[in-house]
Subunit: 231 residues, 4 copies
């Protein structure tokens, strides 16, 4: 079978979502890209997790056309395609409706940076893209969702390499990364940050965001040139 | 044994409820109907899940009379019977006291449609039927509960085919569907929607409901004539 | 070994507490009484659940004196003893620090009756006994806790046969019943009621309590002379 | 292999953290000290829990220098080293980002003492050290975190032997104890206290803290000279 590496990566990553408590039934999808071949493997639409296998992953190109596979790909496939096409350094994308991140998306608020758990992964509030205008929704909806995500980062002056997670207003989170493990990791981290930020505001109404020196310190511990986290 | 198909369907569906975290002890019941035979199989009352089996399901007709079985059927049997009698296209009914959906029912509020997870399944707020008047309660309570559910949909101009879930005020949720798997699925979806709506309001007090264009788009992705979700 | 029946009942019931998510570490205890022998079996103090066995249960009389056993009984033993001595019809007592019930106890509020899940088990708000006065605390604290519980019911005009659960203000819940299974069941029901009542008030600030007709109907479905729940 | 005892103690304690639901991925670390040898064993940085083993623990002295081990120690190692150096009676330290305790840390509030679950372990509010000033952050951050913890206790007139847990403002909790089991136990207790205190304030806005007589009584039941909890 061709594209075996990305089939297996996408399969394994999809299977991690229920284990991490990030999806109910089939409410999520992961894709993994092969940059040289210009394609990605993605979960078929609406197939229960227990029936998935690497061979059932659908191979799609960066314009959203199915290259290999009998099953219909995830209904969110065009969003994945747009992001792969425009963001050359990402290798995987995850979409879930995880509880706390989705509640923030439904509230249409960015998630404020309240602590070092957040700063270990991002130096800014987690952006929430506004709901699309009606024309975009009625048009090619999933395709436009990709552009809505890109436009939100652009308007906030953020790069997809700095911030590997976003909320789509009224909808739910998307995360990405250099590979499928990292993209799934980002989805779990986002859900944890979303839960903690919610609780923080309940515990103290007027809580201030993290100060710049702490944001900088924690992010650089993990990601800066002098990082000293991990092996 | 007769009615084997609906016995097994009802048994399997009842067993799914604790696995999905939707019931504590025996606080829930599922029935599955055989339309040709004019009967449904339902959980016996107050029997622990670990002692259930297909043969213990009670067979009841659409007037609520036991047709086959030594055990007393669920105390909510008459509610199921009324709905089967009046709604010819449903094949199964689920009643639970799942935590978040029951909290909304206790608050006597409809669950506002705040996001696409909700819109993937319904185009309207999840209705909450008001508590019954005292005469209905003192009369044939479970029978009247069925009429209260039907009347609530009618007054809101909703069809049971469009909205497969409802809250009964001060009580708890009921869901239904073409078969037992779908009705159980609807109970789990309702619980997730109820939790997210609760969190959304905590995160932002004045949060607006979803706009019409997004409601329409998401529902039609899954259910319209041009739907493209699933296989 | 003597008192084998209550040793096993107390052991099995204690082991249920972590399975039901009602205790962290050793923060709970169950006792089971033999009315003819005038003794009860109770968990030894501070012994991890995985090291318990029926033979490690301590046998204590209704004045709180150890009758059989090398281990020190639960530090709450005198509370159990007082209740057994004064309430002739109970066969078991459970004390936990379960999360939601304890939060209500810490808030020193009765749990209002907001729905039928509550009314299926009690016709009144779950009472919260006020914290004891300083003299009672400095005296024989656990012994006085028993009297505080009895006094609270008395002042509210409630019988221990009608209401099998109480919160002790600033402390945590106690439940009881005719046997150990029922007392543990009551602890799990109380935790569920406590969580739902908390959520109900978050969802709607001015939520009314259940009306009398519904309280009466639901309680009598399960407990009245014409009850029709269970087998 | 040398330092086998503390290697195993640190390994076992680290493995308890995910089982107790206190960490996501590698967001936590435990160390265990050998006072005679003047060293402690600590988790290597960023290594998944499933790949850990006693031999992978890193041996570090109380100035933070690695004594044995090829892997880089936890990025929080210097905080552990400072505390071991200045607190001669502790044998283990735990750092987690557990959900509720971290939310309180992010809110920069002490956790008020609302009930006996709290008083069983501490006679005071759980202190929250303020975020460090910018100079301390930009300097030797983890080293300064240790001093920030010590200074907070000192300013509140508390001893590390009385209070075995603290929140670091905007960051997360640290706990300690005579050995690794006790330090992990303290982390789980803190998380439970943090969750209950949060819920208590949601249930009642103006809730008073526990009165002195109850604080004293419960703490002394477990820890005073006349304690009668445990064996």
């Amino acid at each position: 079978m061709s594209y075996q590496t990305i089939r297996e990566a996408a399969y394994e990553a999809n299977m991690q979502l229920p284990r991490l408590g990030l999806v109910l039934f089939t409410f999520g999808n992961v894709s993994a890209a092969d940059r040289d071949a210009g394609v990605f493997a993605i979960k078929p639409s609406g197939v229960p997790y227990e029936l998935l296998s690497p061979s059932k992953m659908v191979i799609v190109d960066f314009d959203g056309h199915t290259v290999e596979g009998d099953l219909r790909p995830s209904s969110d496939t065009l969003t994945h395609a747009v992001l792969y096409k425009h963001w050359p350094k990402i290798g995987a994308i995850v979409h879930t409706h995880s509880t706390y991140a989705t509640a923030w998306a439904q509230s249409q608020r960015d998630i404020p940076i309240y602590g070092t758990t957040h700063a270990d992964h991002n130096t800014v509030n987690i952006p929430c893209a506004p709901p699309m205008d009606d024309r975009m929704i009625q048009g090619d909806y999933e395709y436009q969702t990709g552009f809505q995500i890109m436009q939100c980062l652009e308007q906030k002056g953020l790069s997809y390499e700095e911030v590997e997670m976003i909320l789509v207003g009224n909808h739910a989170p998307f995360t990405w990364g250099k590979n499928a493990d990292k993209a799934v990791y980002n989805s779990a981290v986002l859900e944890s940050i979303a839960q903690m930020a919610y609780l923080t505001e309940q515990i103290r109404k007027d809580v201030p965001v993290l100060k710049d020196s702490l944001i900088k310190k924690h992010f650089e511990r993990k990601h800066g040139p002098g990082s000293y986290y991990g092996q």
